[in-house]
Symmetry: C2
Subunit: 409 residues, 2 copies
């Protein structure tokens, strides 16, 4: 039997999806599983996008341009201009989700062995794209005590080696929900210019900012025209994760041309998804206002609820729809599996993503979980009640906390 | 400015698309360009697939399972069974077109530096996927004189090295249209077993066989359960290239699991495309009968027409919808560009793919072009008339042929 490649062996199994068989078993037993483990919102896709599908009048579903429909790219450029990001449609390559933008970008920028510094905890699949490209992720730790703020410039500089070739940020962040300030972006700008690095900015949660905070794009940093790669997607913006339409954006012509060759090899991004995405550009502002109000309320319920559970700490994030909480437990992988295998509270249990998958060294995330507030408020309240009860009975809960939890549950 | 990676530099620009700017200029001048350069059929997508889009009743366009909808995979398994290919839905991963199946398969099977033997001429993008995976394409020459039959076993064995890890075939073939016989597949089986290689079989043109010939799948070869990777796509079968729905199929569990990790990293294949593809499984046989009859007629017009032009040789292929013709010219890249830049015949010209991009050494394809018979019969007749006239006036036409062509044009 021929062997599997080193990359094939090294690729991590998805930390978000690896608990799925346990969830399926729980459902078969009749337990309702509250899914806070994955960023699949229950928010309706804008009707203008669905209507574009329902009124489809094409006879042949053809390939598009490898960079995506020109009309869609022009529309996208208009959307970015409204967000203060001034780019031309010729600086955009439409991709199969943000995932493909990351994969192609990493393959075009990084040699095998090149290092990418990523503030951790970070989106687990960055590891996968880096492995596919042969690059090495070098984490720079952000701490829950600091609310996951950008580490100071010195922490980055301590990690720079001759192989350092890029920095990757997710802003607002998955899994932390952290929103970088202008000052933090300026810090990144300084490092990137000083060491001539690529700056990958995954900004797929751009719309989701709360408490009056505004999103600052890496694309607006002056002097970084040759350095910045903007990764985008319609998945979260329009609650249209299944459309698989993203974008790779750079003003660096040479890099654009290199990524275009990867895009040409796979012929084109999906035509149906592009039709829906182009229509979605006409989504009324009212839709976003309502969605953002809803997410803010969900965040408040979830984060405030979590912080009332004895021993639980959860910073209140200003963006995206995730938070990372520290729990008074022995091991988040074990706890999340136990919730699905051995626990229920009034017929319910909670599925969460152990944070071990969001750190380069899983041990760092051993007491943390990521929760996505993508479900209705009543479900979130139920989830809090479940977690409170679970921490009171889980055998791995810190003893003092278990006693206190029992008293309040 | 940070540098582009070696892979980014090595990736070839698409040989099929690189003439596009010249075609655009020709159109601006008012010349009608007959597109025989790309496998984008004008055949209508089955209405059952389009109707699935028009009657879409989902409120949220969600991610699917990373391997694709279970219902679609089960449906696909039924489709394969009808074609004598017996696999389970758990041996299928739905991909972003056949392209992604090739990319993930190569990344999971081949180490950087591993060698893949591919009969040439071959689909140009195989080079791109191999470069992305770091693998090396080793061509084994099939000749136009032999109608592009599989080279003899000795030709393969002469190329085997300690780094040889796989063989890739396209059956029926792009660009040649060649359909492998059972005996040829048995030859491949012998080599694959003897040297413990992967056998990648790109069978996306399975339906398109002519003159009573039937397609034999590599999946039906006994004893190759651990070796065969089947690459498939709905693009050509249902004239739905833009759906971007393909499949990676293997009975090798370890390889399946490795590719699933790549699939999980990119979350899911496109939901809209899967809905259309699942509906397309109900396409009536009548559709295929009509399409195949149409393609056969087109092939006959094109191939017979080409062979009436002095100095032109074109074997009649038994499958797919391409042919490779040898022309009495100096250089196919120059000729194809000249057709777009400096020629017209009664207001028309022809766009073809120079075969240079389909050979590991471009020089081998210097006198050959690939033509896709994806247009209506009248357009094909017009294309023949254009080519006849072009060869009579093109400055790089072999002199004796130019004289003869002038006499018949």
């Amino acid at each position: 039997m021929p062997s599997i490649s080193t990359k094939g062996l090294q690729m991590p199994a998805s930390p978000i999806r690896k608990l799925v068989p346990f969830a399926e078993a729980a459902k078969k037993r009749g337990t309702q599983v509250i899914h806070l483990n994955i960023g699949q919102p229950d928010i309706a896709t804008p009707d203008v996008a669905l209507e574009a599908m329902r009124s489809l009048d094409r006879k042949v579903i053809e390939y598009s341009h490898s960079a995506g429909f020109e009309s869609y790219r022009k529309g996208l450029a208009g959307y970015y201009a409204q967000h203060g990001i001034h780019i031309s449609h010729e600086e955009i390559i439409v991709t199969n989700g943000g995932s493909e933008a990351l994969l192609f970008g990493m393959m075009a920028c990084f040699e095998p062995g090149d290092e990418i510094i990523i503030p951790e905890p970070y989106y687990a699949n960055y590891n996968s794209f880096a492995i596919a490209a042969g690059a090495k992720v070098v984490p720079v730790r952000s701490s829950i005590q600091e609310g996951f703020a950008l580490p100071p410039i010195g922490a980055f500089e301590a990690l720079i080696t001759p192989r350092t070739k890029g920095i990757l940020i997710c802003n607002p962040g998955n899994p932390t929900g952290y929103l970088y300030s202008r000052a933090e972006l300026e810090t990144l700008r300084t490092i990137v210019l000083k060491h001539d690095l690529y700056l990958f900015a995954d900004e797929v949660y751009r719309e989701f900012c709360y408490d009056g905070a505004t999103h600052e794009s890496a694309m607006t940093l002056p002097g970084l025209e040759q350095h910045v790669v903007l990764v985008d997607s319609v998945s979260k913006r329009y609650s249209m994760c299944g459309a698989r339409v993203g974008a790779f954006i750079t003003r660096n012509k040479e890099l654009y041309n290199a990524v275009m060759k990867f895009a040409q090899a796979r012929l084109s991004p999906p035509t149906f998804g592009q039709i829906a995405s182009e229509a979605a550009l006409r989504t009324p502002q009212r839709y976003f206002d309502e969605v953002i109000t809803e997410y803010k309320q969900r965040r408040d319920i979830l984060v405030e609820g979590l912080n009332t559970i004895p021993g639980v700490t959860c910073p209140k994030p200003k963006g995206a729809f995730y938070c990372v909480a520290e729990l008074p437990i022995d091991d988040s992988d074990r706890f999340c599996q136990w919730l699905l295998e051995s626990f229920e509270h009034e017929g319910h249990t909670v599925m969460m993503a152990p944070a071990t998958g969001f750190y380069a060294d899983p041990a760092t995330g051993r007491k943390q979980v990521r929760l996505a507030y993508v479900l209705e408020q009543d479900q979130l309240k139920l989830a809090i009640a479940c977690l409170r009860a679970a921490l009171a009975t889980y055998p791995g809960t810190t003893e003092a906390v278990a006693v206190a939890a029992k008293a309040t549950s």
